[in-house]
Symmetry: C2
Subunit: 381 residues, 2 copies
Amino acid sequence: MLHFELLATEGRARRGRLTLHHGVIDTPIFMPVGTYGTVKGVSSRSLEEMGAQIILGNTFHLWMRPGLDVLRAFGGLHRFEGWRRPILTDSGGFQVWSLGEMRKISEEGVRFASPVNGDKLFLTPEVSMQIQTVLDSDIVMQFDECTPYETRGHRTTEAEARASMELSLRWAERCRSEFARLENRNALFGIVQGGMYESLRDASIDALVAMDLPGYAIGGVSVGEPKEDMQRIVAHTPHRLPANKPRYLMGVGTPEDLVEGVAHGVDLFDCVMPTRNARNGHLFTRYGDLRIRNARYRNDLRPIDESCSCAACAGSAATDPASRAYLHHLDRCGEMLAPMLTSIHNLHYYLNLMREMREAIVAGRFEAFRARFAADRARGV
Amino acid sequence: MLHFELLATEGRARRGRLTLHHGVIDTPIFMPVGTYGTVKGVSSRSLEEMGAQIILGNTFHLWMRPGLDVLRAFGGLHRFEGWRRPILTDSGGFQVWSLGEMRKISEEGVRFASPVNGDKLFLTPEVSMQIQTVLDSDIVMQFDECTPYETRGHRTTEAEARASMELSLRWAERCRSEFARLENRNALFGIVQGGMYESLRDASIDALVAMDLPGYAIGGVSVGEPKEDMQRIVAHTPHRLPANKPRYLMGVGTPEDLVEGVAHGVDLFDCVMPTRNARNGHLFTRYGDLRIRNARYRNDLRPIDESCSCAACAGSAATDPASRAYLHHLDRCGEMLAPMLTSIHNLHYYLNLMREMREAIVAGRFEAFRARFAADRARGV
């Protein structure tokens, strides 16, 4: 079940509305990452309050813990984590590759030992569809091979990237069959691969579009390649996908990457950066980034960003905003409240950035927004 | 500035109202502990929402980090931590004793090396008053020596307990003088010592009452003594203090200890137990305690306590309650959301228990409440 409607465009930038089983989301949008059934350090209620519309879960992690029996008892991931809006899950493929020597890839799928209890496991396109059906995720990602940029210093050749991309296409077909057999009511997205080679990206697109899937992702970027390579592939790919279907750029990126992605026609993004960086004291603001561990903030009475309306920067009716000095202190003392507040701030910043882009596209001033965004970010906090 | 009004009594149990500089609090009350300017894992806003009326800060820790220059820049602890209601601070004494070999006690005060940067420091009754004046805490505790129950296997003798208690009395006088000299607008509480000896407790009370301080605490309990000794001192001491002044039992304790304390006439409590135990997966409920790490909860769809209205057990308008299975999973994965939710639950339980006692005293059914409380707690979750 999926309906995608384009409300406005400006150049290649698109403002859309995507209807999923658990609700409607406004695109372009950023999806906070909740690997183990929780966006690290952020409650479902805080996500609601900051305007998150869809969050991500990691199939591989949830398969390991809590396991499918528990998730089945809850009727899926939504009730387990107490989140009623849409959820996208990845296929588990990326995490399995990351096991390195611990796994063996074949045409059939990937054999590996569970990092939790050592059990011998076999992840295939069919198993990935079965798990994601138990999770009842609104957007199910195909099982694919995420083509690496390089492997132990060896840069992936065109022939290797082609073989990998073609394997992903065969797996896409198997996913589609299994997804249909399971009578999954949600939406299956295909993933464009092809490494850093435009011709391979085009071939991947052609084959995936022929499968007429309800949405498409761009995978195999933000995998260690130089920034220019990423920008080249992001400039090449999205607008070649069908205009009437949503486009998801996987695992990207910085605020600047999001603005460029939208300019090139991307609708959905996810990244651990806002939450991971928050835990390391790296805060994003309209006027540039701020490292809260810097001693200059020890005595700084101002909030992270005076123009921000997040729960940390704005406080509540009965409580004051958190100052930079307070956050610096909490971080220095290893207090949990530091990552709690900074994660809320960074996610709010990302979600608000997407909201501003949506409004700019509708108003026909996205190009002006881009220029203003770059100037503001360069100003400094 | 302090006004204390008794609204109702039943036996020795008291329902009162205490007016402090930053607001009015209802007694008997429990004060969540916020050592470093944060109740661990709980935002000011959550504290507000769960009905916390006063929180505690630790003078010693805040003196070390962020330091007095930062706290002075904020005009005290309230604005620094974004909490507008009353705050009580301890004197710093207890933490200095805990440094063990690192400190040297004399009539004048305590010399020690900063555990943060090794600086040689000297904490005296006067310095404690000066720091607490910078903090602008609503209730300032006198600098005292917390008489130990035993030291390296040697149980404190009556002569030792007397000497320690008398030192605390001399320090109380010095605190009173310095507090007046500083023109501190808040309330200074004296601390009854005397170890496990009733006669020494009586002598301490007599001398402190002669100083006509606005409130009194009972110190030197919950310091490693057998439960019967603690109960004996808690049964002996509170009602011997002036009826028209608030009584604070320091560092106590379990839910059962709170109910017994109120029955014996205590008005204020603090303890790290609800938050520390929450971080270790030990949850308090109306029907007994629950260890969320127990494998029996792996597949348990129920909230911690169905009768509880905390944010974890009741969810919010847009999000579902957290199940035991979900909390078990989060704890097992080391996810921050586990201590966030369990800390909210345990503190809410403590605050709600105090509210129920206040209502019972006003209604003249505190004895019935005590019996019901014991029966409920024995029922099992």
